[in-house]
Amino acid sequence: MKSEKLYDAITNISEENITRCDNAVKKMKKPSKKLWISWVAAMLVVAIVVGVVLWPGKDSIVISANAIFEAEYPDRSDLSYRPVNNELKECLSPFFNDFIARSLTGAGDENVLVSPLSVYMAMCILAESTSGESREQILDVLGYADKEILGLSQMELLRTSAKTIFNSVHNTHKSATRLLANSVWLDKSVEFNSSTMKTIADNFYTSSFSGNLGSDEMNKVAQSWLNENTKNILSEQIKDIELAPETLYAIMSTVYFKGS
């Protein structure tokens, strides 16, 4: 029987994959580390209960999550052009040009839909969340390596340009609504630096949440966040978005556009 042949093949899979499985199991059984929060952060952290989640057409589900910081999005509704500094434009162009070119090629006959802006914001958030070589590599990809513009350090430049780009796009005007939203999701076992979360909230308009990532409960909170920021127009697709249980840190970025 063919399935028996596959059974025999699985019997002889490598120790490496068996060890990966065993490690994943050990990790799940590991007691959660206590979250470290400084007393300053403790005042800022708002433990919220997302009581009745907006679940169109479904029964109300009561679920809970910890919001570490909630981003305050600019309320801008005038359609005037917001110029972006030329030096910043030149600095950012290589990343966007290269990213778009790479994204639109190599997909064969399939259509490609990608938001370079979301990828850029996610990478900025990732740069802010990392340090050392990882951060350097991200800055290099984004085109900030060895750049001295406007007398700012690389990280200051990253924050300034992300903020500038966000503000040049985000607009609540009803004839051309463009809403950007970002969030980071931390597993409850992860210790985090609250000042980093605040920097991310202030500079990248990013809310942060903590909970048991990969659980049904947290998946629903994340799906709810995505639905809320895309005005429920992608609810069919979003209902299938789930974080893997071993996820420690996730970044979500949405872009909503409505023109008339």
Binding site: K2, K5, I10, A24
Partner: protein, 185 residues
Amino acid sequence: MDDKQIIELYFSRDEAAIDETDKKYGKLCYGVAYNLLRDLQDSEECLNDTYLAAWNKMPPENPNALSAFLVRIVRNISISIFRAKRAKKRYSGFETLLSELDECIPSPSNTENEVEGRELSRIVDDWLQGQFDSDCAIFVRRYFYGETVTKIADDFGLTPDKMSQRLFALRKKLKAYLQKEGINL
């Protein structure tokens, strides 16, 4: 006792090796046999045969991971029991597992070559390498250790239905991968 010390006992032909193996891995081995055979007597028989096989294999074999080495023996002996007795007996664990694995078998086409055991293991290994750690763990626990869907779901904090869906998606992915590799079983 750590694995290295237990293996040393086998190499020095000390029968305490069996007791130490039973102490450390008896439950695991019996669990795998029972998951597959769902029969207390056959699982006991499988466990005893596993210890005998381990005694005969070490030396010369010197496994890196004793648990994986023992589970492989359990799986081989379990399927031998299943093959020998299936005409007379029903083995619900095996039947369920094999029917699930049936879903991973790609449809044959003229361009494919029949693949042999070792090569198929390598291909499944490669596919597993490309999966998330959690998906790799779910697949290995279900199809290597033969654990029940309910137990795996419980450990992952999911409902059994959700876990079944995830396993179904994994089987579909494996089938697509085997198809892409031009595998004929």
